[in-house]
Amino acid sequence: MELKEKVEIATRKMSEKNKAQIEKFSYSLINGEEENFKLLEEHDIYPTSPSCFIIYTIVPRELKHYVELTEQMNFIQDMRHKPRRLTNPDTAEIIRRMAECDAMHIPYRDEETNLCADFIFDKEEYEKNVRPLIEKQKETETVKEEPKEVSFMNFEANPNEEENNKKERILNLCNKLLETFTLTADEDKEAVRKALEKVDLSALSEKEILLAVFNDAFQVGNVELLSTEIDKVLELNETMDNGVGRMRGAA
């Protein structure tokens, strides 16, 4: 691809003022990968300013993965709006933040533009502005709970024990998913264990946890397939749980 063609594509949706600045970022334009120019053009993603040319230098395989993933997870319009985000699309983290906001009823998507708030894509901003809100909301909810009398008849499970049980259950589900994808090597299991350590189990549903863990551990390209397989594993697990429950009830 000739430089002239690269310039034409890269500046297609740029203001005249920005077009005058391309020289400063010419390294990324000149050395940008041809495949990336084509891929981003196909997905209607264009630099909004010359500093965005850097996205053309991403490893093409990785960029393709990011673009497809953002499309499947329904935030590709956010990448069109700020293409520079493609240089660090930590999709597992983005999904985790969305799920956490959903769980805490914190709005993050503009109804008119359908664009997500910046904090969804920015770890620092999220931790600085959203985390305190979540913590405050959690505190309020804890205070609202009525104190319960402690008696041997009304024995409450230890919170740590509950957390451990949830973790064990999730690990079990992860193992089933690993088997589904025939990922049985020790390093696959280790990758899942490490990814699971990063997830806040209390804030997410089982499906959201599994999506975040597998995306983080394997950078899954086909999220739709992953989502379908997770649904199947969860359904099977529920059926088995109910079956065991009924058997116990019958006994």
Binding site: Q21, S28, S51, I55, T87
Partner: protein, 95 residues
């Protein structure tokens, strides 16, 4: 990226740079270290305190030929340039 420590980059700054920068650009920073350092030092010595953020967000800007890099900054009144870039480092895009 050890050389960045000379310019007071913290470990977090370097991690952020690595996270936000394509491998090709990272390799070029290593390959063109002398040029990058020259531009970085010029920005720092000018009194721009936001040079770390500028580098993290616009690493490919530092591959500019040094004389062009210098000209880009020198065409503005020094104190006003420093004040503007120190209050909003993103203005470097518009110089």
């Amino acid at each position: 990226m050890k050389f960045l420590e000379k310019y007071d980059f913290t470990k977090d700054d370097i991690d952020k740079l690595i996270d936000n920068t394509p491998k090709k650009i990272m390799n070029e920073i290593k390959q063109s270290q002398k040029l990058v350092e020259k531009n970085l030092a010029y920005l720092k010595d000018l009194g721009i305190t936001t040079y770390v953020q500028i580098f993290i967000n616009y690493p490919d800007l530092f591959f500019m030929d040094h004389s062009n890099f210098k000209d880009m900054l020198d065409k503005y009144e020094k104190d006003s340039l420093i004040a503007k870039l120190n209050s909003n480092f993103r203005l470097i895009e518009l110089l």
